[in-house]
């Protein structure tokens, strides 16, 4: 059983859903064109993930292997509907902007992936913490992409934050470059791919540096290579 520290490191960095597992690319690339969209989507996904992990861990001993997938999907769909209704009630404009991507949280492979890989085998506390950390890792990557894209695209950050935080956030917008022509490509879909690629490259460079430093201090055992096809690092 993994310690809470390991779960946190896994979700936020080592096994990050956005940068390493490359899961949930559809919302990650689709609605990360501004900080507020990215943050809203990230929080919604993280909440569904934490709640679904907890629920799956609760019922894991009652659900047989044969029916586990439909049951997990039903749980996830129910929780997604809750989030959808909550967003309709409290952040209606943002709900309209994110549109189809909110119901699509149901089919986000991170959520079913974590339910299968972690929540179905671990206790409720561990599972919900794992969901929270995986969701936070995903949300942070999304926020980073959203920040870069909004900055390059409009020359400002934190725009339209009142959609998420209410009238108090109406004047949060920080214009970093005034008289900026706007690099439209960053807001268009290719910008999402480019920024995600650069973030993955940055993570790999940081990991390489860290590994070199670790190697300098002590000879570490070689990591087992992953058998999954689509990964950008080693999943332990």
């Amino acid at each position: 059983m993994a310690s809470y520290r390991e779960i946190a490191v896994n979700g936020l960095w080592k096994n990050n859903p956005g940068l390493v597992q490359l899961l949930g690319l559809c919302p990650l690339l689709g609605v990360s064109n501004s900080m507020v969209n990215a943050l809203g989507m990230g929080i919604a996904t993280a909440l569904v993930l934490a709640a679904s992990n907890a629920a799956v861990a609760l019922v894991r001993n009652q659900v047989t292997d044969a029916v586990r997938l439909p049951v997990f999907v039903m749980i996830i769909a129910a929780l997604t509907t809750c989030i959808e209704l909550l967003m309709q009630a409290f952040t209606y404009e943002l709900y309209q902007i994110l549109g189809i991507f909110i119901p699509l949280i149901t089919t986000n492979c991170i959520i079913l992936g974590r339910a299968e890989a972690f929540a179905a085998k671990n206790s409720v506390l561990h599972a919900s913490f794992d969901g929270l950390m995986m969701g936070a890792g995903f949300g942070l990557v999304m926020l980073a992409i959203g920040t870069v894209r909004e900055l390059l695209g409009t020359g400002a950050i934190l725009g339209n934050m009142h959609l998420l935080f209410g009238p108090i956030a109406a004047h949060w917008q920080l214009t970093l470059f005034s008289d900026y022509s706007g690099f439209l490509l960053a807001i268009l879909p290719p910008g999402a791919f480019l920024v995600l690629g650069l973030l993955i490259a940055l993570k790999n460079v940081l990991d390489e540096r860290a590994a070199e430093r670790a190697k300098a201090t002590a000879a570490a055992p070689a990591p087992a290579t992953s058998r999954r096809v689509r990964v950008t690092g080693v999943i332990e």
């Binding site: 022509s181 439209l184 490509l185 268009l188």
Partner: protein, 343 residues
């Protein structure tokens, strides 16, 4: 007796990368001169500034990638990318626009894929499309011929002062696209700057690029296949869909051959040995694909000219074209073509 170890190829041409690149850059001279004659100093400023940026960016990224600087800088490929981009961009594009286009072309178009020879897309066209999509207003501001002075042009490029309103003018392709009510004769009478038969005096620019291209073919730097494919397909398409010179005209074949970036594309872009098809038949098909796409985009697409988009789309198709156009190898009765199971 010690025999020297000799390996093939035994007959060597003198087409080193550097010589090829410098000849290509030199062959752009007639086009660059024609642009300068028509639009003033802007093109020359673009050329110098783009070349400086290209060399600086190439050196920087080579240093980051820990590659030998002098060896790769000497091959002149960054220079050719810069020259082609500078000729494609509007003459009075602001300095940062050229910076973004050249920087993107070198870093994302070429070096991130592994440098010269590894890039799946034509770097110059990639840079052009990035700025075309990102900054539509400066990218569509072409000056009217003989309208911008040297000093005011320089001030405009480097952002010190703007040119007076109305310095830019719709190109012939623009006008053709938005024109709903005028017949061709009326449209041309309204815009004397559109020239005799091409578009907006750009016919002379195109003829100058044609001259440079013929020089490259004469020097055997490029083969005639890809340009013929592109110009032929464009000619056939514009002939088939030529609907006279009424107000809904798609433009005559001669107009399409001598306007926009047709000749620059045909002789300097689709002949790129890296991102294009390899075999002679493949080059004809590649060029024809570009020609057809250019016509489709010009006539029914959202942009007035489509050479850059057409080239990028065909770059994607180049590996497939190569698979199906492999030439017969010596000793085999038939050419091996297409995908094979287990390959």
């Amino acid at each position: 007796m010690a025999l020297p170890r000799i390996t093939s190829p035994h007959a060597k041409g003198n087409n080193r990368t550097q010589r090829v690149m410098l000849l290509v850059a030199a062959a752009c001279a007639p086009g660059a001169l024609a642009l300068t004659w028509l639009f003033g100093i802007g093109t020359l400023v673009n050329l110098v500034w783009a070349s400086l940026v290209a060399v600086a960016v190439e050196a920087a990224i080579l240093a980051v990638r820990r590659r030998p600087l002098a060896f790769f800088l000497k091959d002149g490929s960054a220079l050719v990318t810069a020259v082609l981009l500078a000729l494609a961009l509007p003459p009075y594009a602001p300095w940062w626009l050229t910076l973004v286009a050249v920087g993107f072309a070198i870093i994302f178009g070429k070096q991130l894929y592994g440098g010269l020879g590894q890039n799946p897309f034509n770097p110059a066209m990639l840079g052009y499309v990035v700025v075309l999509i990102s900054f539509p207003i400066p990218m569509t501001s072409w000056p009217a011929p003989h309208s911008v002075g040297v000093w005011e042009g320089l001030q405009h490029i480097f952002g010190l002062a703007s040119l007076p309103d109305g310095w830019s003018q719709a190109t012939a392709l623009d006008s053709l696209k938005v024109n709903k009510s005028l017949t061709m004769d009326e449209l041309w009478a309204q815009n004397p700057a559109f020239g005799q038969f091409g578009g907006k005096a750009v016919e002379w620019v195109n003829l100058a690029f044609l001259l440079g291209g013929l020089f490259l073919i004469h020097k055997k730097i490029i083969s005639w296949h890809a340009p013929l494919g592109m110009l032929g397909a464009l000619f056939v398409m514009s002939l088939i869909f030529w609907n006279g010179s009424g107000s809904d005209s798609n433009g005559s074949p001669l107009f399409h051959l001598l306007t926009g970036a047709t000749m620059l594309g045909a002789f300097f872009i689709v002949t790129d040995p890296v991102s294009g098809a390899t075999s002679n038949l493949g080059r004809v098909i590649f060029g024809a694909g570009v020609g057809i796409l250019v016509y489709l985009i010009r006539t029914w697409g959202g942009y007035p000219d489509g050479v850059a988009f057409a080239v990028l789309l065909m770059n994607l198709a180049a590996p497939t074209i190569d698979y199906y156009t492999r030439p017969r190898t010596y000793g085999h009765r038939k050419a091996e073509r297409g995908f094979k199971l287990g390959e």
